[in-house]
């Protein structure tokens, strides 16, 4: 009973599904059912890993550095503007639709303008990443401030707390959970922005980053290397985002204790 239920647990069903997809993938490529020009089988990808590893390490190191700068900037702007906007209800009401538009509009259209305005160095890459990461952080900070219980603030005021103390003791702890969600989403989007601008301006300008290498590999039709590189990138990004996610959960537990 327990063995069968273990074998059919949700986790095992996931494992079966992924295994089935990998096997089917390997089968259609190696038997030639699907023309393999643009498909690499899992075994081909694994054998391409050693040769692509050094290229990946260099490119990812460069991109993570840009990401760190871009994400820091996005956090500063998002939290700063978010605290101000969230505190003043009327300001929030007036700006709400503009901010909402910023969240769901296709920000990628500004990619050429960023290069026109900020030159061909790494500055447009950093700023474009911040531009992508900024909105989720802003919106979640505002949402957090709005969730602060007004009674707490009133009580603190009546007890003679200064504004700074109120922010420190009441507003910021109330903002934290939704801010951490914003941090996670923002981190993801910062990477998206950086990779988009690197792919669009690959050959001429920022060829050394992750997006540039991906674009170059696909132009050179180095298929197994392209798959291996993309998968390495994804795993690394998932590791970074997963860490953020884990930290946010841990913080939440600590806060509720």
């Amino acid at each position: 009973m327990s063995i069968t239920s273990n074998l059919l647990s949700p986790l095992m069903i996931r494992v079966y599904t992924v295994a089935a997809i990998l096997l089917a993938w390997e089968a259609v490529v190696s038997t030639g059912t699907i023309k393999a020009i643009f498909l690499a089988s899992p075994t081909q990808i694994v054998s391409a890993l050693p040769s692509i590893m050094p290229v990946f390490a260099a490119a990812f190191g460069q991109t993570v550095f840009l990401y760190a700068l871009a994400f820091t900037l996005a956090i500063f702007l998002g939290v700063g503007i978010g605290l101000i906007t969230g505190t003043y209800g009327r300001l929030n009401g007036v700006l709400g639709p503009f901010i909402g538009m910023g969240l769901v509009s296709p920000k990628a259209v500004f990619v050429h303008l960023f290069v026109t305005w900020f030159g061909i160095g790494q500055l447009p890459v950093i700023l474009f990443g911040s531009f992508f990461g900024f909105f989720p952080i802003l919106i979640n900070t505002i949402a957090g401030v709005r969730e602060t219980k007004p009674e707490y603030v009133t009580i603190a005021k009546s007890m003679g707390f200064s504004t700074a103390r109120i922010y420190q003791k009441i507003v910021l702890p109330a903002v934290a959970p939704s801010f951490l969600t914003g941090l996670f989403l923002g981190s993801n989007l910062t990477f998206v922005g950086i990779i988009i601008i690197q792919i669009v301006f690959e050959t001429s300008r920022f060829g050394s980053g992750v997006g540039g290498v991906i674009s170059r590999l696909s132009e050179l039709v180095m298929i197994p290397e392209l798959y291996a590189f993309s998968i390495l990138t994804l795993i690394s990004l998932i590791a970074i985002n997963g860490t953020l996610f884990y930290l946010s959960r841990r913080y939440d537990k600590w806060r509720l204790q």
């Binding site: 599904t17 990628a108 050429h112 026109t116 988009i196 298929i223 993309s230």
Partner: protein, 255 residues
Amino acid sequence: MVAFNQNLYRFFILVAALTTWEIYAGFVNPILLVGPSQVVSALSQVLTTDVVWREFTFYPNLVTTLFEILAAYAVSVAIGLPLGFAIGSLRRVGAAYEPLLLGFFLFPHVVLYPLIFLIFGIGVISKIVIGIIIGFFYVTFNTSAGIRQVDRGLISLAKSLGYSEFTVFLKVVMPAAAPTIVSGLRLGFAYSLIGIIVGELLLPNIGIGLLLDVTGSTFQTASHLAMILVTVGLGIVGDGLFRMAESRVLRWRFG
């Protein structure tokens, strides 16, 4: 005392921003920035003559992009709704596959787009695939969340009154889940559009993405800003239509 009018302030902010932009643009090189008046005149020229730059025409590319958006959205809904219903109402399926989907949703897919271009070609199909990949998650997750948040008490009450599973679904689950599902349908549209535009920008050979690329890389700043305006406008108009439909569909709930 005059009542606080949000729209008035919004209008002031817009006017102030446009004025600042217009004045500032007067002092900088027109390659870097042109004022809103020139953007509007460039846009009206494009709309009347159909020419964006040299042999690049506007309307055929706009139609291509619109077609891609609608196709991607249609498929997103066709996949996303049933999947969301399955995940939301069948507990085992949800427990097994939701983490998998969530994991796929929460990483930057943009890394995979060059692969998608290689597999699906450089035409409209690859762009549509990207639009689907971004769009269908919002439909799926909102649908499953909407179904999960239905009050269990209502369902067991309906069942105890002898309603069939199907009637319960139609009369209890659907009305209660509708607002969340409908907002998922709206988000799905916005994100399908984002996917299409990103796809067209990463491989700019058709659609509005091509026009953005051509005008951007030749520094036709007025036409480039006009094309940005068109793209962002598509999103805003689409979102506005969905909001109108949303309030219409959901009005009965409060009637």
